[in-house]
């Protein structure tokens, strides 16, 4: 293998990959928690909170995620200087805003998909409204969320590359900077272009992470339905 390969691979795996995994992990946990709370609240028939949550969902599902990233990264500091975040944090915040809107919509659907008989049976057994939700409806509904949450994880991992647009060093940005370094003349680089190999390597990495997860999501979907 040529000499240039080893340091490039090492930088991508040691600097880029951990950043991608960290942003993805934080975003998927944050998005799931906020999304499940919002989605559950949405099923409660209280007009004001429903209008607000509906608006939140429609806005963050409607915006291209890159625009949300720009809003967090460029927009928030323009409103208040204390709201300045690094590229990776800003990307996580944007992914949480987008992801939680997706999860809220999925949660609403899952709760709505529990048959009415379950409510009636629980009421007949003497459960109050809160007991009915907590012990009968929500446990079943949240189980149905598992496949969409795995799907969300795949989407979040892929969309964490948006950090590269604002200079956050994750997989894609690490690959890009190494690919650019190689094109420079020695001693920094070798004066050669190897973008196909390096970006190809990043594609393979993403594929190896995503493919098992999409299979898992499909499998869970079949099992839980």
């Amino acid at each position: 293998m040529p000499d240039w390969v080893e340091p490039v691979v090492r930088y991508i795996l040691e600097v880029g990959l951990p950043a991608t995994l960290k942003v993805s992990a934080i975003s998927v946990v944050g998005a799931s928690l906020i999304g499940m709370v919002l989605g559950t609240l949405l099923t409660i028939q209280f007009l004001l909170s429903r209008v607000v949550i509906r608006g939140y969902i429609e806005v963050f599902r409607g915006l291209p995620i890159l625009v949300t990233v720009f809003m967090v990264y460029f927009g928030l500091p323009a409103i208040a200087p204390t709201l300045e975040f690094g590229p990776l944090t800003a990307t996580s915040i944007a992914l949480i805003l987008w992801g939680s809107a997706q999860v809220a919509e999925a949660t609403r659907g899952a709760v709505g998909s529990i048959p009415r008989e379950q409510h009636e049976a629980a009421a007949a057994l003497g459960f109050g409204w809160i007991g009915r939700q907590r012990s009968v409806i929500l446990p079943q509904a949240y189980r149905r969320l598992l496949p969409p949450l795995v799907g969300l994880l795949v989407n979040i991992i892929q969309n964490s590359t948006l950090a590269a647009v604002i200079g956050g060093i994750e997989l894609l940005q690490a690959a890009k900077s190494q690919s650019e370094r190689l094109t420079v003349f020695p001693p920094a680089g070798i004066g050669e272009i190897h973008a196909v190999e390096i970006l190809g390597f990043v594609m393979v990495l993403f594929f190896l992470i995503s493919f098992p997860l999409t299979r898992l999501a499909a499998y869970l979907e079949r099992r839980l339905v």
Partner: protein, 223 residues
């Protein structure tokens, strides 16, 4: 803040450029929607009818595109292909990248739609003397196409949103245009407001139009 927030002034000073950017967004989206429909139709039919070799290659194409970030795909098309002698200008790279992406998702949408058409309908078509191809055109396509409509339309909306990623290759669609203006004039919040309003209006009206269309095109039994 350096200046007072003034959306009206921002728009009146830059509307010509913003409109050009919006037109480019629509242009790339329109080409990609048509392209992704053709790709999805042909490969989705090949997948559903298990046409040897084509079906397997289409499956690989779908899995590769769905399991890698579109941003990496865009980088590949614009920054890596020149290494092997394929040089695309930003506009071509933009519509090629989103067409490849949308085509993969649409292949899956159409495959599912075509496979949902009951086998007996096709058998009836063949029994009436239609060739396999005309059976596809007259039976599988009109029914399966309508079944796959909701999911393929979601793909089209994603295609429109993904054109914003062309910012990374400097193609002057709406996002690139607005951010470039903001970089010059420091009117960041105004630029972001314009982006938010335009994209939400576009996406929301597409979804609304689609719900109407869906109701009209839905199969009679599912009405």
């Amino acid at each position: 803040m350096l200046a007072v927030y003034d959306l009206g002034a921002f728009v009146s000073e830059n509307w010509r450029e913003l409109l050009d950017g919006f037109e480019n967004t629509i242009k790339v989206s329109a080409i990609a929607v048509v392209g992704a429909s053709l790709v999805g139709l042909v490969l989705g039919a090949a997948r559903a009818h298990r046409i040897p070799v084509v079906s397997q290659l289409a499956a690989v194409y779908v899995e590769v595109i769905r399991n890698t970030p579109i941003l990496v795909q865009i980088f590949m098309v614009y920054f890596a292909l020149p290494q092997i002698g394929i040089r695309l200008d930003a506009f071509t790279a933009a519509w090629v990248a989103v067409t490849i992406w949308g085509g993969a998702f649409n292949t899956e949408n159409f495959r599912a739609g075509f496979e949902a058409v009951p086998q007996r309908y096709r058998e009836a078509g063949l029994a009436l003397g239609f060739s396999p191809f005309t059976t596809f055109l007259n039976v599988t396509l009109p029914i399966g196409g309508r079944i796959s409509l909701p999911s393929s339309i979601n793909t089209y909306i994603s295609v429109v949103k993904n054109t914003s990623l062309m910012y990374v290759i400097g193609y002057p669609e709406l996002t690139t245009t607005a951010i470039n203006i903001a970089n010059l004039t420091l009117e960041t919040l105004e630029a972001l407001t314009v982006l938010g309003i335009v994209y939400l209006t576009l996406v929301w009206s597409l979804s609304a139009a689609i719900r109407l269309l869906e109701a009209r095109l839905a199969l009679p039994e599912s009405r």
